[in-house]
């Protein structure tokens, strides 16, 4: 029995290891490809287009069907329901190309065979003929070619930006290209479909959005959603790449499973995965900023052109969020921001950590840099002068009410010795030489909530079995972020029992219906609240029961570590549960949560799309080799706001990982298409994500432990998945400074992103003239 004075293991606000950590390190954590396959499992493999845009004039599967083990081929004609996995009802996302291909690598057919190797080899034996049509790859070319938008654009306005721009003492305009990013989740896309009775099918899928997979599979099979069950125990990384991109794979597996009445697994190889699935949107940003001689921004106009690919997918909300974050942390008195979601003959771009936000935020930082160089100021000074004050309105007319950046930046400036180090960097660069240094402090203010208000709901299911063990289920999915651990901590604390008592179970559409994607950093905010609601329902029943059974007033009943206290009696938790069961108390509850206060009217561009903001800042220092353009991150200091952290260890892990991933986006991670429209960086041999040696040489990461959410979030914590990704911009800004030093900071380096060694060297050469 636990001493009632000792706190429970795994309570909220404590460092607690990831629930699967021991399974991870021993190789016993099962991912979808590791599950025991049902007897007779067969395999599907996709055949991809080899034309960036063209009409299919012929499909010859003679050789494919003659290969050993091949059972058949699926094309668009073989889908029983609708040939569409568009997540937004626009009906523009075919599973298998129907007549026309819109990008190089688009799935055209699927081969079904006894083994994956047989299916894969046979897929390459198919002959597809095309009548090529002109293709357009980048957003500006798409605009010039009249390709149009994949979804409705958005404009945010406040005041009159044109007039204020004309009135501003100084004006700068510029164009800035920001590259996309592949998710490079270590576990690729995968689905296993198991046919059931009648119209039923069950799937194990690596997806962030099991409910959408369920609905899509139903749609494609032409059956009700109630016939489809989707299960996810864990993903080997998601980062947004498994929010909608999994739908296609799951649908192919489900269709084949029903057709052949056998379990079907589909897993593309890495090259096909990177070629055929969407990525972070690349942007070309035209900006104009009006400002005064003190560096205060008067007016901003921005046109953000996004490479959306051939279909809408999530490009609408992604480009919307780019606008929502085009202020990053700064007040724009008069502003106009317009999105241009351009249709291109590339894979349809999708969600990726930050969801357009980082691309918007980096526009703000580019303008800050322009202002600072124009005025000869430290960019940090310009940043501070333009930070929001509480009560000011964002370009979408939400009032900022929880601003903490002035304190957070001041603390970071001190703890990182920013001023002294900036001086040292300036002194170093003044000596000339090959190696130049740069330092930059950039903040983030990140809006938390799905901008589609209805997604801000969640459900959870808790059972307490008669032996006192607790089964926890919720609608969120685990992709490494530690969601399950945090939700279990919340439930453990509610019942005051050790976290080991709580069984974390796979996410399944059978237990919690109509869930939202685990995305937008919202997993814990939403599912933690839903689980707490479920726990509180059971606790209320138990409290009433204990009061009655042990003859005390309800306010004399309390849940204490391992026990329930009834007046001066201490009853072991298991005994309470056993007694409650015998007394026929309902020991199961479905919890629910919806985020309050938020609303958003896209037609007017006004509302309160975000429940609150999460804040943070980073100082990065880099060294740049001006002979080759190579660089090293010498040091990064981060102070980040997660409110009252539910689990500081996991939150620090999110901050560190997001920062390095953000730095990767802006440095070595380059997507490169050839003139035929082929993505040529489609594997880790050609697409370079950060390695251990790319992380900052000195890396100080701290949470702002004094911060507490002003809104009633789950235990006053704040979301953490995406906001620190934006802090990678500090690395990019520091590289820009190092490059600008070769021309004595007379002008900013104006690097496009990613700042590959090549871009850096070419900028050095250009500035040297």
């Amino acid at each position: 029995m636990k001493d009632d004075a000792a706190p429970i293991a795994g309570q909220a606000h404590q460092d607690t290891i990831h629930d699967s950590a021991i399974k991870h390190v021993t190789g016993r954590a099962d991912y979808t490809d590791d599950l025991v396959e049902p007897t007779g499992t067969i395999h599907a493999y996709l055949g991809l287009s080899t034309c960036a845009h063209g009409r299919i004039t012929g499909m010859d599967f003679t050789d494919t069907l003659a290969q050993p083990g091949v059972l058949g081929v699926l094309t668009a004609d073989d889908l029983p329901g609708v040939n569409d996995v568009s997540p937004n009802g626009m009906n523009d996302d075919p599973i298998l190309a129907d007549g026309v291909v819109h990008f190089w690598g688009q799935p055209v057919f699927a081969v079904i065979a006894e083994t994956r190797d047989q299916a894969r080899r046979a897929a390459h034996k198919a002959r597809i003929d095309y009548d090529a049509l002109p293709h357009v790859l980048d957003p500006i070319a798409a605009r010039d070619a009249g390709m149009g938008y994949v979804t409705d654009p958005l404009t945010l306005r406040r005041g009159d930006a044109a007039v204020a721009m004309a009135d501003a003492p100084r004006r700068i305009t510029g164009r800035f290209a920001v590259g996309g990013q592949d998710h490079f989740y270590l576990e690729g896309q995968i689905a296993l479909a198991i046919p059931g009775e009648d119209d039923e099918v069950a799937l194990h899928v690596s997806t962030q959005h099991p409910s959408e997979v369920q609905h899509m599979v139903a749609h494609v099979l032409g059956v009700p959603s109630s016939a489809v069950v989707v299960n996810v125990r864990r993903m080997g990384g998601g980062f947004g790449g498994k929010e909608t991109q999994m739908n296609l794979f799951a649908c192919v597996a489900a269709v084949a499973a029903k057709r052949w009445h056998r379990a079907v697994k589909i897993r593309p190889d890495r090259d096909d995965d990177m070629t055929a699935t969407g990525k972070r949107h690349d942007f070309v940003i035209d900006y104009a900023v009006g400002f005064d001689d003190e560096g205060r921004i008067r007016a901003v106009e921005g046109d953000l052109y996004a490479r959306c690919g051939f279909s809408a997918d999530l490009s609408g909300p992604v480009t919307d969020r780019a606008l929502f974050h085009a202020d990053n942390a700064y007040f724009y008195p008069d502003v106009r921001l317009s999105s241009h979601p351009m249709r291109t003959n590339t894979v349809s771009n999708t969600a990726f950590r930050g969801f357009g936000g980082p691309q918007g935020a980096i526009m703000a930082e580019r303008m800050v840099e322009e202002i600072a160089y124009a005025l000869g100021l430290d960019p940090l000074e310009v940043r501070k002068r333009n930070l929001y004050q509480n009560g000011q309105l964002t370009p979408y007319h939400q009032e900022v009410q929880d601003q903490i950046l002035p304190r957070l930046i001041a603390e970071l400036e001190q703890s990182s010795y920013y001023q002294a180090r900036r001086q040292a960097v300036l002194d170093w660069n003044a000596r000339g030489g090959v190696i130049r240094k740069g330092i930059a402090l950039t903040p983030v203010k990140f809006g938390i909530s799905f901008t589609a208000t209805w997604f801000n709901q969640a459900g959870a299911l808790i059972h307490i079995y008669s032996d006192g063990s607790i089964h926890l289920n919720h609608g969120g999915t685990e992709m490494g972020q530690g969601l399950n651990t945090k939700v279990a901590q919340i439930v453990a604390e509610a019942f005051q029992c050790d976290i080991s008592r709580i069984r974390i179970t796979k996410t399944t559409t059978e237990k919690v219906p109509n869930t939202s994607a685990t995305a937008a950093s919202s997993g814990t905010d939403l599912n933690g609240m839903a689980a707490l609601d479920a726990a509180n329902q059971i606790k209320a029943r138990l409290t009433a029961f204990v009061a009655e059974n042990w003859k005390v007033a309800e306010d004399q009943v309390a849940f204490v570590p391992g026990h329930v206290r009834a007046g001066d009696q201490m009853i072991v938790f298991d005994q309470v549960i056993r007694a409650a069961y015998m007394a026929r108390i309902h020991l199961s509850a479905a919890g629910f949560y919806k985020t309050p206060k938020i609303h958003w009217d896209r037609t007017t561009g006004q509302g309160r799309p975000f429940y609150y903001f999460a804040y943070g800042a980073a100082v990065s220092e880099v060294s740049v080799d001006t002979l080759t353009g190579e660089y090293v991150i010498d040091r990064a200091d981060i102070l980040h706001d997660v409110g009252r952290s539910l689990n500081p260890a996991l939150d620090r892990g999110q901050v560190e990982g997001a920062f390095v991933q953000g730095a990767g986006w802006l440095t070595t991670e380059e997507l490169w298409w050839d003139d035929k429209g082929r993505l040529r960086t489609h594997a880790p041999s050609t697409y370079k994500v950060p390695l251990a040696s790319d992380r900052p040489r000195i890396f100080n990461v701290a949470l702002a432990d004094w911060s507490e959410a002003t809104e009633r979030t789950i235990k006053r914590s704040k979301a953490v998945g995406e906001p620190p990704f934006v802090l990678g911009i500090s690395v990019f800004e520091a590289i820009n400074m190092a490059v600008a030093s070769v021309a004595d900071y007379r002008e900013p380096a104006r690097l496009d992103a990613p700042a590959t060694p090549e871009r850096v060297l070419m900028a050095v050469e250009r500035l040297r003239g």
């Binding site: 190789g27 998601g238 920062f659 390695l691 040489r697």
Partner: protein, 482 residues
Amino acid sequence: MTQLRFLLNDTEVALTEVAASDTLLDHLRLTRRLTGTKEGCAEGDCGACTVLSGRLTPDGLVYEPINACIRLMASCHATHIVTIEHLRGPDGGLHPIQAAMVAHHGSQCGFCTPGIVMALYGLWMTDPKAGEAEIETALQGNICRCTGYAPIIRAAQAAGAAGGQAQDALAREREAVAARLAGMRGARVSLARGADRALIPTDTDDLAAALLKEPDSTLVAGATDVGLWVTKFMRDISPAIFIGHLMKDITVEGDLIRLGAGVTYSEAAPVIARHIPQAAEYWQRIGGWQVRNVGTIGANIANGSPIGDTPPLLIALDARIVLRRGADRREMPLEDFFIDYGKQDRQPGEFVEEIVIPIHRAARTAAYKVSKRRDSDITAVAAGIRVDVAEGIITDARLAFGGMAGIPKRARAAEAALRGQPFAEAAFDAAARAIAGDFQPMTDMRASAEYRATVARNLIRRFWLEQSEPGLPVRLRLTERA
């Protein structure tokens, strides 16, 4: 013999039906259901499939991390393959590496974790005092997309501090395993599945005979490239001759290093560090650790790639290679081996047997590699530079480049601009200008032609700066080694 034999964890495996293209990863995951080893990329770049390979060397049993995804089964003959499932602590619980990874929150999604644990295990066994720099080098071949690596580095340091190497299972079982592996070696092994055939020769003479008989055979050494022919391009490599265990001799005689063609990058590293210290850092940027443990210098040359890492340096050093066909041998300057893109001076039935590298003790030497990402990346531009100076005059200059042409190639105009000139900035400025006439590089996803040309020019400037003022901060440095 017609049996492939190896030790898998604590089980002896003997297989008769083996195709040349069968991979270890598929064997582990599909046949053995050892699913702790993951497939992340199937091209040897992400490390999620890292396992340990134990093999007998003249120094005894050596365990090295390798990529199971591009490890062909026939290469596993007479080795001990150790997977994550075999790892445990002395008490049967978590191994110190595993315990440290848990304690330091070194896993998030967990998919890369078994591979990272195995790479760190390999390091922990061989370098208990590894510092940050050594850990980073050990992890060059492992991608983690979640953590940002910091907690993994902390875990590796903590596990190193925890010690316990002597009590480790692989240490305690070392003699028994060595004896079992020794018993598997010896006779030539002929493997087949249907028409697909693989041959493991007994020794180099056996190889010479076998290749003479079937000159169209694919020679497979470390399979760091051939493995990709199989996994990415589904090429048929049969009949294949597996040679990774042959031609392992390393000798230094006077001013000559002689490397057997089968010497891996890792095996050569100490000799390079000792006799060509200017190339030590370069050497550690060849692939990742798993690749260096199996990739051989002979195959790097024989492959003929314009972006192979060793040829620019070796050409600058006037290295020569020994080619063998049957019992006949011929020796030639390495640079003459590369005729044109995809074409080498290698006759049917002939193979690279040895590399002979002169040690230029008095020369000024450098090896440079420039790539998009520092580690485990394919060269955009590589340079080997050697300048001989006597009494202030440049008597000879060798500047060889990779990534600048269809073959590894000397910059003859730049060399001419140096030769006979005073060892002074003017000569290197002239060479930097002259190199523009030496190459017409190409543009691809790694780098543009313009970037390559600019870098080639600047590397000559870097060389001068480094040589003229040692200690001048000219190159980026990571953490200094412990």
